[in-house]
Amino acid sequence: QMAATLLADSVTVTPDGKLTASGNVEVMFEGTHMQAAAITYSQSTDKLDITGPILISAPNGDVFTADQAQLSPTLETGLLLSARMVLDNQLQLTAGRIDRTQGDLTQFSRVAATSCNICNDRPPLWEIRANRIIHDENEQQLYLENAVMRVRGVPIFWLPYMRLPDPSLERATGFLVPSYSSNDLLGTGIKMPYFIRLGDYRDLTLTPYISAETKTLEARYRQAFTNGDITIKAATSRDTIIPDTQRGYIELDGRFDLARGYELRFGATGVSDISYLKQYDYSDQDRLKSFVTIDRYTDAGFTFGEIALYQSTIAGENSSSLPPFVMSFATEKQQELIGGNLTLSADSDLHFRFGTDDNGNAADVLRIGTAADWNRNWVLPNGLVVESDVGLQIDRWVIENDPDQGGTRISPSAAITLRYPMMRETVSGGQDLLEPIIMIGWTGDFGATVPNEDSLSAELTETNLFKLSRFPGDDRIENGAQIAYGGSWHRTSGNDWTAHVVIGQIMRETVADYSSSSGLTGRSSDILAAGQFAINDGLYVLGRAVFDTDLSAQKSEILIGTDGDYLDLSASYVWLPLDTDEGRDDDFSQWAIAADYQINDIWSVGASGRYDVAANDPVKAGLSVGWRNECVEVELSASRSYTSSTTVAPTTDYSLTIGLAGFGTGATSVQSRQACRN
């Protein structure tokens, strides 16, 4: 019992069962709405004969226009003449005739499909003409017969039969957007990705990559489970770089939520030769890590366990001495104790070397450690915050293949930190927070001193300035008494910008085994200054530097960025003085910049660059230009890498991708419809 409603300026009814409606005629039926100039309905044929201009909008957003039509009263079946249909308000199909059938099938005869604006002054940017297109609403597919692709009216290619996803389809098997690229190493080539949907939870993408220098097949398999997912990437190539050998790689990554909050993560990478990944730009990792990790973090503690194998991709680096096999375990529990917080922890690290590394080190080291730490805060009536810390750490090393046999180290520690935070209101209604801080502490270091493997490169920053040790690992601690003084200043002004500065220095009783550029050498450290300035949702500047006594900057780093609507900028500058402990044989200063600017709805440009100031030559540079309108998205990019070694050569890389909007939800459906120029 479905009722279609008809509205018109005037209606004539004749006894032979004919109704004629004319003047702003509208018919509504279950969400489908039609407007027409005139309609005649005859009971005998049970058909609506409609004279145009006809406009039909279906509930799912499809829109039909036609000059003439004959439809069922429910507007579901029938035919339209010289009609046009717009799918998902993107893809327009203009046809001599459209037949709508009961089973959600719509057939277009003598049809042109495009998502570009149709202006009568010239043919659209691209269109596909076909004898017949059948749109299957259930399958969300478009089947084209005898299809010709035309650009500005010029036919480019012809296909007897073609199938395309309609704009509302998200995951369907089929070709993805091809990309064309060329670089010095692999020549000019094209990648044609083909996506295969294997049900709702798995998919496989096969991408043949054919160029003058290489025949490569890339593959990516993904599978989602209820409690996790896995991804497998692989590629196999025969190329002219290493002729007559099958090169390739395989990489597995997975993540699973286990019971009681534990999470399992694992990854493995195998590669035929160390330069393959960088040459094909599949990964820029210097070391490949294959690992299994299980961990759990809660408010009251954590447990962490990892087994990892490392393989180097740096030319000349012997993987067997990295060390390649590293196992680590750590667990920590926190509980309340006499008004304070007691942290009990136990951990152990084990690493094996199957050979000797460049500086003759072949040590296999096992360390087992346990520690207890109690801290408590008091707030005095005058606003002074007193933080007390008492700790005991005991570590045992067992070392083989090395003159040093290891031993046990016992390290008690105690510290008092005094903070006096003060605030005032600023004239602009913001707040100024000034907090002088002083830490007085002592650490004992009794027992063995082992070779320093995990504490080679320390950093002095505003977060470990007032801690007892700035060493990253366990092999070293700061011995003796020390005092760290300084302060932080924080200003928020209304809601639009904030500034933050921390300055401080450390004076200590005995010199600690820090690397030269860390700023922590000697009995008095360099002066640390760190700060940031950030405008709400706009520009931010973050910086940190250590200054030696004559106030010349040692290690320093600055980060600048914005993530505005139109400009995406991130720039960094770093200055690292020579430091053999940290693997640098000379000074190192480098700036890098990456910017993407959306000029208007159509044009976007991007630039990136990395320049080595000390060596005075560029490292990487890149440019990209994007052009898009309502029906096409084109991205042209070029990048140049100047780095070179025995496995990596300087290469220039160009790539071009063209995506047609309107097929599947892949390419963007930019709403910037261009008006016709007439």
Partner: protein
């Protein structure tokens, strides 16, 4: 010069210590962030009236690459979105803070792993300190 202590008898944040419960990510960064927040704002009482929710996002980028294409130093950038809700359910302060830490990526794998882990821990501490400073300055008015 107009500064007044914020803790102590009539400080603007005198009842803040211990009155905040923390809702953080169940990750290493979330754990160390909470550890630092407890150090600065005290262990939360049983029915702590205020709640601070923080979500962290981190990303790594090489900041110095040698001429033989090996990464010399990597910078970890972190942003933390926080919202501070008082016992009446009003959102008193919300926003996001950003910080960065670097670590050397040369040398043995053991040294790099330790430096990387320490960098992430320092980043969580830095984000926590910035959030505490934001809360102290933004709740001063209320």
């Amino acid at each position: 010069c107009g500064y007044a202590p914020i803790y102590g008898t009539h400080g603007s944040a005198s009842d803040l210590m211990g009155s905040v419960s923390f809702n953080v990510d169940q990750t290493a960064e979330g754990y160390h962030l909470r550890e630092r927040l407890v150090e600065r704002l005290g262990t939360p009482e049983a029915q702590a009236p205020n709640q601070l929710t923080v979500r962290i996002a981190t990303s790594e980028k090489p900041v110095a690459i040698a001429s033989n294409d090996t990464t010399v130093r990597t910078t970890v950038t972190g942003t933390a979105d926080y919202s501070f809700v008082n016992n009446a359910g009003e959102t008193v302060a919300t926003g996001s803070v950003r910080s960065f830490e670097g670590y050397s990526s040369l040398g043995s794998v053991v040294a790099i792993n330790a430096a990387q882990q320490d960098a992430y821990e320092r980043l969580s501490y830095s984000l926590a300190d910035l959030i505490v400073a934001q809360i102290l300055t933004r709740t001063a008015g209320q």
